[in-house]
Each structure stands twice: as C-alpha cells, then as structure tokens.
Symmetry: C2
Subunit: 687 residues, 2 copies
Amino acid sequence: MANINESSQVRASFEGLVSPKSVAIIGASKDEKKLGFQILKNIQTGGYKGKIYPINLKEKEIAGLKAFAAIDEIGTPVDLAIIVIPAGLVTPEVKKCASVGTKNIIIISAGFNESGVAGKAREEELKKLGDEFGINILGPNCLGEINTAVSLNATFARSKGRSGEVAFISQSGAICSAVLDWAEKREVGFSKFISLGNKAVLDENDFFEYLAADKSTKLVIAYLEDIKSGRKFMAAASRLCKIKPVAILKAGQSKAGAAAAMSHTGSLAGSQEAVLAAMRRSGVIILESLEEMFNLIAFSQRQTELGSKELFVVSNAGGPLVLVADQLSSQGIDLGELSAKTIDKLKKKLPPIINVKNPLDIIGDADAKRFKLALETVLDDDKVQNLLVLLTPQTATEVEKTAEVIGQLGNKHKDKMICTSFIGEGSVEKAKEMLAKENIVNFSFPDAAIKILAKLIKYQAGREFLEPYNYQKTDDLPASDYDEQLDFFEAQALLKSYEIDVVPTRKVENEEALVELEYPAVLKVVGKKLIHKTERRAIALNLRSEKEAALFYAGFLPMLREEGNSCITQPMIEEGIEIIVGFKRDKSFGPLIMVGLGGIYAEIFKDVAIEVDDLDRRRALEMLKGLNAYKILNGARGRTYDVESLVTLLLNLAKLARERKEIKELDLNPLFVKQKGAVAVDFRIIV
Amino acid sequence: MANINESSQVRASFEGLVSPKSVAIIGASKDEKKLGFQILKNIQTGGYKGKIYPINLKEKEIAGLKAFAAIDEIGTPVDLAIIVIPAGLVTPEVKKCASVGTKNIIIISAGFNESGVAGKAREEELKKLGDEFGINILGPNCLGEINTAVSLNATFARSKGRSGEVAFISQSGAICSAVLDWAEKREVGFSKFISLGNKAVLDENDFFEYLAADKSTKLVIAYLEDIKSGRKFMAAASRLCKIKPVAILKAGQSKAGAAAAMSHTGSLAGSQEAVLAAMRRSGVIILESLEEMFNLIAFSQRQTELGSKELFVVSNAGGPLVLVADQLSSQGIDLGELSAKTIDKLKKKLPPIINVKNPLDIIGDADAKRFKLALETVLDDDKVQNLLVLLTPQTATEVEKTAEVIGQLGNKHKDKMICTSFIGEGSVEKAKEMLAKENIVNFSFPDAAIKILAKLIKYQAGREFLEPYNYQKTDDLPASDYDEQLDFFEAQALLKSYEIDVVPTRKVENEEALVELEYPAVLKVVGKKLIHKTERRAIALNLRSEKEAALFYAGFLPMLREEGNSCITQPMIEEGIEIIVGFKRDKSFGPLIMVGLGGIYAEIFKDVAIEVDDLDRRRALEMLKGLNAYKILNGARGRTYDVESLVTLLLNLAKLARERKEIKELDLNPLFVKQKGAVAVDFRIIV
C-alpha cells in the first residue's frame, strides 16, 4: 500500500492496527469503573479470536487471562497495544512498544493537546516517537476502534457494534458515543468504527487509504472538525471516492460562515471555501447536519449503489405526495416513467378511480392487498430501481400487513433500493420494526430519504469523471511572511509567458508622449507599492483627448515622484463582459483558483466559483457553468462571448499557480471576455 | 364576529359548529366497520356533555341512544349535524337540516369535487345551499373536527385528541391521520383540530377568524394545498397573526417551482410568488416541510411565546456544539451573554478546565450533578429565556438522572423556553419519555429546535409592525381577457398624476425636428401595438449628433407608417442605477408590487422583491433592503443613491395599483435611481 504520510521511517502496514493477531491492553484493570476494564471486557466478550495480553503492574491475572507487568515482558511480539493509563505515563510505554517491535498503538488516554501546555508537549513527543519508529498511533484522547470483520471491539463504548458495510470515522468522541448508541437500537452495522481522537499521528487520510482496499467496506462516513493536510486529504479522498462513496460532515462549515469569509477577492478563498472546494474536488458527498449523517448511515444499510437516477413513489396519501413532488423538484431528482406494460397491468389490477402514473397515489382506502398489487407490479418493472413507499395510517390502512408485504418484496428485489416513509407514530411503530428486520429503511418523513438519494445520485454521476488528485510533499509552500507585489511589467511578462493576454500597454515617460496616444485611452500609475489603484485615484478611464489626458497626468505627478512608480497607458476596452480571475495559495490546500463576475456587481452578488489547482478542461467549464454570469457569456442577452478562451485562460492560470510556487496571490481584475478572446486589463501578483 | 365571507345570507356564528349543545349524526350505525359507528363512538366516549341524536332510517336505538329516521323528526333544534352517508344522498339531508334551523353541518362523505363530473355538480349544489341558508358547512370529504374544550371528538380517527393550546387545520385527511397518530403517542394536545376537506363552503379563512377570538388557542398551524381567496386570506391571516402565531405549510411551494415561475417581469409574480408574498404580508410563519410542522407542534407544547431573541446552550459534547454554532449562524440567532454574576458563580461551581461562556461545554465526563450545577445557575440568570440542553450518552453520562434534573428545573422555570437534544437512541429513550412528561420537548437533533426558534423569533419581531390587511369584495377585478397597451403619452400622463417622474419626452414629428434636439439623445418609436421595442429595434440610444439621429430616424420610417406609432425623443440618462419597478394584478391576491435590479444582470440574478398592494413606507424600505442591489443604492461603491425617492415611488405605484383597477400590469423598465431623484425612462401599461 502506497503511504502518502511522510515520516522518517515508513509507517507500518495497517493490518496489525485494524486486524491484529494479538492485542495488549496497557492499563487493563479489574475495576469495573475503569476504562481499562471495559476495553478488556469488550475485546474478550466481542468474539475476538486473537491473543489478549492484559498489562498491569500489580495483577497477575485479570478476567481469567495471565497479566504482565509490561509489554516487554510478554516475550513474544504483539501486533497492537491499547494504552489506557494516565497521560503522564504514556510516553515510556510507547517506547517499550517500539522496543519490542509493536508497530500499532491506540492511545485512549486523555490529557494531551486538549489540556494545556504540558499536554501539548506530551502530544509533540508522541508525534516524534510515531515518526521515529514508524508506529501507527491512533488517538490519543479517543474511544478506540471496532473492526467487525475480526470481531474486535477495542473501545470502551457500552454497545458492541454490529457487522455491516459502513466504515465510520469520527474526530469527536461524543459523536462516536451517540452514533454507537443509535446504531445499537436500530440494529445498524459497521465494517470499521474509528475514533480519531487528537490525530497526533494517524488522521482521516491514513484511514481513507486503508479503506480503499478494504473489501468489507462499501461506504465511508466521516465526521471531521479540521482538515490539516489539505492536499493529502484530496489525494486520499479522491482515490477512495473513485472506488466507493465517501460522505463527510465537516463541522464549522456553516453557509453563513462561508459567506462571511467569502468577501471580494481578498478573503475570497477563506479556509471554509477551501474545505468545500477540496471536498467537491475529491468527489465527496458533503453532509450538512448530524441528522443527515444518521440518515445516510440508515439508508446505506440496504444499499450503497443505486441502479438508476430516477425515483418511483407509491403512496396512500395525497398530501404528502404533493410535498414529495416539491422536494424532488428542489433536489433535482427525476420521477421515472413506468413502462407501458406496467401501466397496463396496474390499470387492470387497481380500482378505476386511481390515476396510474408515477408517483402512484393508490388513495386513502388502500388496504394491504392493494399495496401488494401496486408494489409487486411496480417492482417487476426493470425501470424501477429506486422505490419510496409513503403511508399515513388512515381508517382502512393495514399498517403492519403492508409492512409485511414490503418486507417480502424487499427480499425478492434485493438489488433494488426500497425505502419507506410511514408517517405517524403509535400506529406505525411496530411496522417500522418489522421493516427494519427486513432491511427496509424507514424515514419519519420522506424529505430525508429524498435528500440522501439526491446526494448518492450526484456522487455516482460525478464518480465517472473523478480523477485522483496527485500530491507530492514538494508541492507545499515554504512559509514566507513578507508579501511583495510584482512590478507591472514583470507581472505582464509572466502572464504573457503563460499565454494570458494583457491589453497592449506602454509606458508614458512624460507629458509630451500623450500626443501619440490613440483616444479614447486609459492612464494609470503602477508601482510595486501601489496596491489599491482605485482608492489612490491612480486610474483615469475613457480619456477622450490629449487635453483630458494631460489634466489627469498632471494629477498623477506627485505619485509618479514616489520611488518605483511609473505611468502607463492602455487603450480603452469597451467590449466584453467584466470577469475576475485569480488564485490564492492556501498553505494546506494549495492554490485555489477563482473565477467570478467582475464590475460593479461583483461585491454584491459574489457570483464566484472556486476550484483547486489541478484543473482540467471539463472542470474549468463546470466552474463557469456554475456562475450566474455564465448565462450572459453563453448568450442570454443575444450575444455570446468567448467561453473557450476563458476556459483556456483558467487552465493556463492553474498551470502558472502550480509551477510558480513563490506566488501567493494573483488577480486579473478586470478581465474582459470578448466575443473573440479574453484580455486582462489590470492585475496584481503578490509573492 | 364580522364575517368576511360574502354569502346571500349572513353565515351562522361558529359557536354551534365548534361548541354545539347538541349533535345529530346522520348515518349513525351499529356496524363497527362504518364511519357512522366510529364517529358516534368517538363523540359518546370522548366525554362530550351535549345531546347526541343518532339518525338512521332503520334503527330505533344505537349505542344506547334513541335513534331517529331523520333530523326533522327529532322535534327540537339541533346545533350541529354530521353527515356520513353516500354522496348521492347528502343534498336532501342538508335541505332537511336547513328546514329545522340546523345551521352547522360537517360532511364526512366523499364523492364530491374529487370524483368526476357528478361529484362536482353535487359540490356546487352544496355551495348553493350553504349560501342560500347561511349554513356553515365543513367538508365534504373530511375527517371531521375535534374541540377539546368541550370534549367533542367529531372525527372517525382512532386517536381521541388530547387537550392543548395548538389549533391544527388541514386540507389533507391523510395528514390529519398522521398528525393525530403521532400526537397520541407523543401525548401532544390540541385546542381545535379541523379537517377542511374540499372546502366547499368553509375554508381556512373562516377558521382563522374564529380562532382569533378563541382563548383556548395559543398557536395555529395549517397545512394547505391551495389558497383560493388570496385577499380574504391576507385579511384573516394578518388579523390572526397580530394576536397569536400562525404557521402554514403550503404544499406546492418548492423553491425550485417558485424560481421557475419567477422569470423576468412577465411571469415574475407567478402564483407561488403570490402565495409567499401573501404569507409574508400576513406575518405567517412559513413552514418548509412536514417534519418542521411536526417539530413546531412539539415545540409549542411547552411555549408559544419567547421571552427573548437569544439562545443559551449547555452541552456535554463538543462536536455537536460546533454544529450548533454553524446552525445558529446560518439561522441568524444570537447566542446571549451570561451576566457577570452568573459567570462568577459558574466558575466557582464547575471544574477549572471548563471554559465558562455561552455556549457552555461542561465536557464529556459531566455527570448529573454537574449538569444540575450548570443548569440551575444558568436558569437563575434573567437574561436566559431560551435554553437548549445538548447531551450525548458518554461513559460518565447519567442520562436519566440528567433528564430528571432538567424536568425539575423546567417546572421551576415554567415561563422559560427549555428544550433538549439528547442525541442517540437506546440509552436516551427512557430519558426522552421522562422529559416529555415534564413538558420538556426533546429533538433528536439540535438543528430542528434551532430552526423553529428562529422562526418564532422572526414572527415575534414582525408582529410588532403587523397591520391588518383590509379587504373589500369590491377590490377584486372583474375578469377581462382582452389585453391592451396604453398609448405612451396616456401612460406618461397617468404616471405623472401619481407623481412618478418620467424623463422629459417630446414627439418628433419629422426629420427636420432632429435639429432642435440636445445631444446625446434617445429616439424611440412608441405605439399601442409596439410592445417589444428592443426586439423591434425601435430604440436608438446615445445618439451623439443630428447626423446619427437622422440615420436611425430613416430606419424607423417603416414602423412609423404603421397605425398609431409615433417617434419620440428623450435625453440620454447616464447617471444612476438601473432598477425595474412594476406590478401585476393577481386575480386572487390583488396587485403584486415588484422592485428589482434592472440592466443586463436583471435576468441572471433575479434580484427581486415582491409585496402586496397595501404597501407602507416601512415595508417598501424592507423590500429594498431585501435586494442585493440595495448595497449599491446605499453606497457600497462609494456613491449613495436616492433610496427615499424610490420608496416614495413604490408607494405611489401601490396607490395607483389600488385605485386603477383596470390596469393589469405595469412596468417601469428601466427606472434610473439617481443621487437625487428617480426617473422612469421606459414603461408599459397593460389594461
């Protein structure tokens, strides 16, 4: 397995961490209140077949197992050590593990980065040890891990973790607890369950790599609070997403927060935008709430791959169907069309009052028999791959009998996505349990199912085009705090060398030179230290005569006396759409390429698209299509503009961003996209 | 009670419908499978104290009560008749009711508007009878009604309906069933529960009027599929909202649908937009999903009025708190600040590792005692009126003991809004029940509580300014299918008479007149039949000389030969922001006033605000503030524009729309809002 972590020593394979043949619990205890007891008990009673070594300074035996005073006294190599002792005692134990060749450690203990200066120092020490000895360290300050494939529950959670196809990774222990508690009751299973803790050594990226090849995992769900290595994240997540769906709930990503960060050019590519761009680039399913995360886990218990993009709906309730139609339309999901044969069959079988189509309203007096007639006919149609059954408990409704019918059909059509929304509570409770037993997921309200469906459909469509993100450690920028602006002509030359057109520009050496200009003309003062030209009134547009030009030139004179400033002239551009293009280098995520509407409406509409640096033609065009301004470029006002040129320019810009690592920020503002070509009028390059 | 329904005869008071002293069930039955049995049983066993008369052609006695062959054989007046017989037999029974002075009828029977031509004819007949005799008819095709104040359950639903402060009104029977089923299990109560059915005679507006004065109702929630009488709706809903919160889930209102309807000017004020504008105007809380509707019902079991706009949060889980912060920021809710005294107290009571602030993270190892210390201190602070308690079940968490603490504090602070989000399932199940018993509402996820809170806060803030919408039947427009454009000068005179500035315009009678123009100038051809001036190339802008003008004038000549066309000239306006203003008369909701950004970006950004016709200065300004373009008007680019003039113009336009009922549609496009004043350059008035 290629490991994209860069450590002094190559990190050990994950097999010993995730599927160890032997486990030592350093801090195993007889005291039922201690985590060291709970973890040992969970491992012992969970069906784990490997060797278990309790490590305890005082005890000779714990829970019927021989106990050792230290890992180096066992006398045989141990694959995985789990450390549950006070923080201050952890480092020596890690060293002992290293000395006996134990390359996998889970540190449950808290008292590290999250608790003061001493804790931070301890965590630094852990990182060093991890790197020095190439040890996989999970945690510290975590709940542990579960691998149902080998019946290993190496957590102190009360619930045991059922077997399933979803791998769950979480940076919050509190959320781990909540998910396990919910899953226990719902009979929801996991392939792997990983509590990342403080991520001192291992982080989400390492597990993404591992899970790509893990056959027992069909879907990966992660809750993350920070993504520290943005480019590594894109590399690992994009490779994983190409193989199986990955859904991430990233806390701290509120739209309001992102919008606030996204002000004009300057802070446009704030870190929230960077995280979103990186998730989009990697093909990740972006989750928006805890509820949606739980819903996806539930949804995926039946299926993680959809057979088609269309949804079919059968319901005994008209009102909720109207709401479903609203929701489908807002989520962009199509209602499929039943085949002519199916329609014929349904017309013969169902009461004539029923309007046979998708969605199919079999009306309020539908009993279980009518549900059966409708559902089995619909499910026999090959076009029907995704089916949602809506039910509200009305007088004639046979709730449980209907659930039984759905369960049977669910088993018959195991390859089809079938979910239900039985709306209500008391009358539908038992039915929900019956459905769960038959692996049919019920949603309290249909919206939740539709949202998840929309995200899976989008994921599957995007996967086709998904390319892995390539990352080398050398792509990262050495930190430099000093910002400087490139000289105008230097910048212009650089842009030209990347085939980015700049409007013809000449120096104006003195007032006499104004005679030679072609009017209407533009005069500007440029200089390394002159960053805000508009505010400094260093721009004069649309000058119609030498007389007007002379007036402004005179006004420029004080500025021109400042060191490094000079006066330039350009022709006035009167054709085209004003666009802003640029990039900003994020230390973690690399250059973020930006394109948006320019001109006076730029700030108020923030019509902007952001992408990461390995742009290709398809994605560059997608960026443009995501803009409202695209409609204008594409002819909404009767004239079309040179979109192809703009796409090429974006690709050239991305190339420049990748190759010229010393450039922190670059803006072309404005860039005029014309009916033929695109030309930059002003620009700013910060190194 | 003033009744805004216009019928031939004044409709009877609602008392007899909602709190009848006697009830006849026409179609009462001994057969347990029949609705006539279930309704009788529900009334009999629900605790209703009034007289009950079963009506059945064959039986002498039903359920221990003397039965009658018809209502006119009872021999004494009956307040309310409930009809549950086949549709074809209903009309004669309604007539009998009228003959004995029964003024209130609930028609449960289906088989009317929803079922073919015969059904439609039957419903028309019902409407006529309702009007002729001034009878309140609820239904047909409905579930019935519940009034817990008099223990009357006149529905065939299985659940009995608990007493509470929420009135629920629904146009969908399936949703009635689902709500009752859910409420039964959750021990959620209602003051009134109304199934509107087909709304042949009574609709939501009648109940809104009634509920305004109903002291047992503190909150009204309605599910609606159509709003047929828009202006009556606004009149009834705005009056009710001034008194108590009203929340409406309007099916068929997807954002996607609304967006599609909202294309440039033409269909800008489509009916979805009209419904939204009407709900906003009325101060209604707009619900977006069934789930949100259920959540609001749950939320309001504790409180329907909030003591402040700020939220306080106490949690044992850090991860969910990050998500809560995201959510609060996106919903625009402020986290309040604890008083200095409270902070001091908390610092003394809580472990030093805890960072005392709002939101308060009492960290993962918090037991019930720590929850108690934190919560009682926080709740003693007068600033804390709204409190959300978050919990995930972790190792040290005492879930049920914590629920007990919250329940006790909830009882002590009955006037404060306290809700919880215990995230998980198995471990928190019992705690949720305990909380519900103490009237603390638990949400599976905090987002739901925050969304509801945000809507109630917004409602309360808006209520202060809410004015009733005045509606007279005469405001409605007589239908006219023929559309005609007003002549330019006629239109100009009309606008001027409403103090709407139009750019100085003169007729150009012939080519010779071009000499007298001041250049740069504009030339246009106008005429009653010339609606699309741009497409017809009937506009020449920015003409700089007589020569240029003559060229275009020559091009206009063929158009000028068409009947009714003439050439006009205007000065070229070069200053100001291009805005579009107008109105479109909706047959149900009246004139919808529109203002939005004009110019080339109008179509792509759809930066538009819509209001109904009784605009005042405050709301006109709110419209503008809702636009992105407002930032520019208000100085985002360094120059401020005359917002006051634009507000005045909107008010004048609304006055014109109200007074000139023959005008179907009016656009000022473009209108230039200048640094001083606002002037219309082109316009179109359709009568």
